[in-house]
């Protein structure tokens, strides 16, 4: 069974979203959205999974302006959210602002968006950054848009639970604190992960391989989820279809 790397990522995201009732994803985040759609499809008939895609008209059930996402998180009505980062360090600090010395930075990124709030209030924040390189995963971020851990007296029902990259899946333990390598995606190995990661992390000597989907899940993904996704992310869905056609020349999608 041929499984594309992005399908491994999407299925991993769906796994990380087990038991959520309400998940929000950013405007330009097709992969988290696909993972959430797969979760919703898998859970159909057992639990209702709500998916909010920021900036989308189709997948927006908010009616109180752009503050409502944050309000609903503050109310405890948002279970999971995805956060990227120009830099992420071993304490799960996230930097969305830039490289160099603030404020006159040598490289400036857009800004922190809602990270400094949602990272505190959403119980299951999944750090998702495909580029797995030492310039992204640094020992110490240049600017803390949102801290990975807080003092015990800080109100913080939320925080990071996992970091997913194109090479591997990490879990985050806020008590220790630090990342632990949970699994390496097919085609990658531990040494490659060590070389590409600028911070220390826990790992087994022989870490497990990130599992792929079973046939039923893959079929659900390539039929229903891909169709749903193409409404909101047509370019991403079209590329996926092209890659599938190339990887599986007979045209069968499952």
């Amino acid at each position: 069974m041929t499984v594309l790397p992005r399908e491994i990522l999407i299925c991993t995201i769906a796994r990380l979203l087990q038991d959520v009732r309400h998940v929000a994803v950013g405007a330009s985040s097709p992969m988290p959205a696909a993972g959430a759609m797969l979760r919703r499809a898998l859970d159909e008939g057992q639990r209702k999974v709500r998916l909010s895609i920021l900036g989308s008209v189709e997948h927006n059930f908010f009616t109180n302006g752009s503050a409502e996402l944050f309000d609903s998180a503050g109310q405890g009505r948002l279970d999971a959210f995805f956060l990227g980062g120009g830099q992420i360090d071993g304490m799960a600090n996230v930097n969305l602002v830039g490289v160099g010395t603030y404020p006159q930075m040598s490289v400036r990124w857009p800004g922190s968006f809602g990270s400094a709030y949602l990272y505190f209030t959403v119980p299951r924040v999944i750090l998702f950054r495909e580029e797995h390189s030492p310039r992204v995963f640094v020992e110490k971020v240049d600017f803390i848009s949102a801290p990975g851990i807080s003092t015990p007296e800080t109100y913080r029902p939320g925080g990071p639970v996992a970091l997913l990259t194109s090479k591997a899946l990490f879990s985050f333990d806020s008590q220790r604190p630090g990342f632990r390598l949970e699994s390496v995606h097919p085609g990658h190995d531990l040494q490659e992960i060590l070389d590409a990661t600028g911070f220390q992390f826990d790992h087994d000597d022989i870490p497990p391989t990130t599992p792929g989907p079973d046939a039923a899940t893959l079929s659900l993904l390539r039929d229903r989820v891909l169709n749903e996704l193409s409404e909101t992310y047509p370019a991403f869905a079209a590329q996926w279809r092209r890659d599938l056609a190339e990887a599986i020349p007979d045209g069968a999608s499952a």
Binding site: A27, V57, G65, P110, G111, G114, A116, L118, I144, T151
Partner: protein, 265 residues
Amino acid sequence: MSEDLRALVRRIQPGMTLALPVDYAGVSMAITGPLIRHGAGDLHLVCVPTGGLQVDQLIGAGLVRSVETSAVSLGEAGGAPRFNDAIKRGNIRVLDATCPAIHAGLMAAQKGVPFMPTRGLIGSDILSNRADWQVIQNPFATGDSIAVIPAIRPDIAIFHAPMADRDGNVWIGRRRELAAMAYAATQTLVTVERIVDHSLLADETTAAGTLPALYVEAIAKAPRGAWPYGLWGEYATDTDELIRYAAAARTAEGFAAYMEQEVRA
């Protein structure tokens, strides 16, 4: 340019604070050119809660002293080139924020109180760089610190909406951040796709999504006034144009040429 648009921008004085909405909520791109020709500079921009093309163009035109924002970008078209360049050169002051803190500041102004508390922020470099914010003890619990954000009271809020009626009521639909901006601001200037003859408040269905004229200082008609941004329920974002701008504005000269062409158009 219509006389109505000219009348709108004449209300803007050098040094004022302008509140501008997020990309998808209804940006009055139609006012950007007139605003730049009007030339009132030294502006402080408040992005509600993030900025994009309009903010980048006002910065590129040299009208901006400082920006309070949670982010500035061109979305799919990438980073905001004139914003990024101005930061590198130290030409503008950025007050980095996080979205709900900007909402909290506007809410404080809406409620007529000096501040609002907000969760999060503690331990971030956003907070440590905002001398104008405070951390206080929650008076209802022991050992619980919480950030408090002072009221944001813009002189002028500017946005684009689908329609207004003859009484000056404006239909904003579910984009209630536009109402929040208007409540907080001293004056609100609105461009609209069209003026309708029936009162938007006369019917409960349209009234539900209407910002009352009480908050609206002046309105100008500007069809496709959010372009190249989209307007919900009306037209989609012209991403190709955003990409064209992003490429042109990589340099100050490219930006100037792009804007020149826009002004002529």
